[in-house]
């Protein structure tokens, strides 16, 4: 993990490369999906679970998970919530605009660990963006996995990400897909589950010796979901989490993403639960 690396031909590790925005899609009132390609024609070269540093001149950089699978050639996608100055500026961009990218960085999902296993892919809120990369991979390579269940929780129907994808996954014979929302407003046209994502777990029936659960979501979600999974006798080495931190460099130098001795940007963001559950502040 710590061998010397040189990613770019650029003279600096910190110099972004140019990417063109191919298209922009509104996901929710606060989130957009940006489809990008490298201007030099090269592939991003990412793996599911990795992130990039998005660079906007004048605004700095922000870490964003890649939301598309490496199996989808010719582009990569980033789901971006308008949360700060950089993401606010990014939401003003148009197709054809150029942005900077560094990466991909971080430890991806361990496909060897997931191989031939039944998968519980559990995400909440923005966590569906990095999870979507893995779900797409599973769609494209179904022979590598057992049964796949997608569980997603959103604040309300309006804030659910990737509604088109969710509809496809719900209709797919390859997937079991369940969506829940915390609450609905009086005018919402929604007839699905209402309640926290933890409520989707007790009805599930799975073999804990042949199942891997992957969790990506807001910090408040992890402990509650893990508790439900452990009631089902899923052990910590069979639970995978992807942890959000404010990476400023992506290469293990700036110090903003440390979890005790681990650097989330290099040792993670994907961890097996047994690697981090004993560390202060990890979950």
């Amino acid at each position: 993990m710590h061998s010397s690396k040189q990613l770019y031909n650029s003279s600096s590790l910190y110099l972004p490369f140019d990417c063109e925005i191919i298209s922009i899609k509104n996901l929710t009132p606060a989130e957009k999906l940006f489809r990008l390609r490298r201007l030099d024609g090269a592939a991003l070269g990412h793996l599911s679970g990795q992130f990039v540093q998005v660079s906007l001149l004048g605004w700095g950089e922000a870490p964003i998970s890649v939301a598309s699978s490496p199996t989808r050639d010719g582009y990569f996608e980033l789901g971006v919530r308008r949360a700060g100055s950089l993401t606010g500026a990014m939401h003003q961009l148009q197709a054809g605009d150029i942005i900077g990218i560094r990466g991909p960085f971080g430890r991806p999902f361990d496909l060897a660990q997931l191989h031939r296993q039944d998968l519980l892919l559990i995400s909440g809120g923005c966590g569906l963006a990095p999870m979507r990369s893995l779900i797409q991979y599973c769609e494209d390579r179904p022979e590598e996995f057992g049964q796949i269940s997608v569980l997603y929780g959103a604040k309300n129907p309006e804030h659910a990400l990737f509604k088109d994808d969710l509809a496809v996954w719900e209709a797919s014979a390859s997937f079991a897909c369940s969506l829940t929302v915390d609450n609905i407003s009086s005018g919402d046209c929604y007839s699905g589950n209402i309640g926290l994502i933890t409520a989707l777990i007790p009805p599930l029936s799975f073999d804990p010796a042949a199942t891997i659960a992957v969790i990506v979501g807001p910090p408040v979600m992890y402990r509650a979901v893990i508790a439900e999974l452990k009631k089902k006798e899923l052990t910590s080495d069979r639970i995978v989490v992807s942890l959000e931190r404010q990476m400023r460099c992506g290469v293990g130098k700036c110090g903003h993403c440390t979890i005790e001795h681990l650097y989330c940007c290099q040792d993670g963001p994907v961890f097996r639960l047994d690697e981090v559950e004993h560390l202060r502040g990890a979950l």
């Binding site: 690396k5 003279s11 600096s12 590790l13 959000e244 293990g252 903003h256 290099q266 502040g281």
Partner: protein, 337 residues
């Protein structure tokens, strides 16, 4: 081993400055000392470690990443003349060795090595501590070492670059080698070294309660002096500076004692209290770094304890920690400790 008389020192530095960008301890108008360019102020090699972090020569408070001027990208250039820097005490050299390893490991940090890779580093030791106190020789960790024997500077090269630089200097006729000085000045492990090791043990054994950090954190006024003075603190933020025709991206020192250090765009803050931030500052040096790097990353230079206005520098906290929760079975336990 070579020798320089006090009269020869200025001539030596003048010669060095013809080839190198020479920085050394100087006396500032306010009576303090700092490592600065040779011609900026009178040299002041005596007096011990300088107050500022000496590793700032390679990891400065602000460093340019790139500049875009009128739409054209400009990367910072490698300096025309390599740096010759003198003024690192043996403890400072240990700090430099640590951050050299940190910036080289994994992704090699080109911004750090832009200045560091061709630099010559000279250590300072001997009877040049505060009030003429003995600073034991480093014996390595640098290109060459200047050791003050009370009258002259003995100069010992350790690297090829160091040997080339001192080749023209006269050999010392002193019968005392640096090793003899080291043996004469050898001391048993000092109290602070024992304290730090015992505090590290306690933290690694998770034997320090949250209430301790709440109490210590209450004293922090978030001045960030500890981080800004520490030679092994390497955290930085990234900022774009915009003007009419130019945008410069630079990185700047950051402090884990600040509320925004880990705050995420979502508002979530893994270090959301003074207690957690103070614990992080101490724990990182004494427990996290030993786990990752195999050694404590505080080398007891004393700067954080000197600058902290509320008395919660590294040694002060370690002392409180050991006093309250000291191990009885510590391998570093001393009689009566």
């Amino acid at each position: 081993m070579k020798i320089l008389t006090l009269d020869q020192l200025d001539q030596f530095f003048t010669r060095i400055s013809e080839t190198w960008e020479l920085r050394l301890p100087v006396l500032l108008p306010d009576g303090t000392r700092a490592i600065a360019p040779f011609t900026s102020a009178p040299p002041a090699l005596l007096g011990g470690a300088v107050p500022g972090k000496p590793t700032a020569a390679f990891f400065p408070q602000q460093a340019s990443v790139f500049t875009v001027y009128d739409g054209a990208l400009q990367e910072p250039q490698t300096p025309d003349r390599p740096l010759f820097i003198i003024g690192f005490t043996p403890r400072d050299l240990a700090c430099l060795r640590f951050i050299d390893r940190f910036f080289a490991d994994g992704w090699r940090d080109d911004i750090y090595f832009r200045q560091r890779q061709h630099a010559v580093v000279a250590g300072l030791s001997g009877l040049c501590g505060p009030n003429g106190a003995m600073i034991p020789p480093a014996g390595g960790d640098c290109d060459l070492e200047f050791f003050f024997d009370g009258s002259n500077w003995l100069v010992v090269p350790y690297s090829e670059a160091g040997q080339a630089i001192v080749a023209s200097l006269p050999d010392s006729s002193s019968p005392k080698t640096l090793e003899l000085f080291r043996q004469a000045s050898a001391q048993p492990e000092d109290e602070n070294e024992i304290l730090i090791k015992r505090a590290s043990e306690l933290l690694q054994a998770d034997r320090v309660p949250d209430s301790f950090w709440a109490e210590i954190g209450e004293r922090c006024i978030a001045c960030t002096g500890c981080n800004l003075a520490c030679p092994t603190c390497t955290c930085f933020g990234v900022q774009d500076w915009r003007s009419a025709r130019q945008t410069e991206r630079s990185r700047m020192w950051d402090s884990c004692q600040l509320d925004g250090f880990m705050r995420e765009a979502s508002g979530h803050n893994p270090l959301g209290s003074e207690a957690l931030r103070t614990r992080r500052r101490i724990h990182h040096k004494l427990a996290a770094d030993p786990e990752k790097w195999g050694e404590i990353s505080c080398f007891l230079c004393g700067r954080c304890d000197a600058v902290c206005p509320t008395g919660i520098g590294m040694v002060a906290v370690a002392r409180e920690l050991v006093t309250r929760f000291g191990l009885t079975e510590s391998k570093y336990l001393v009689t009566g400790g």
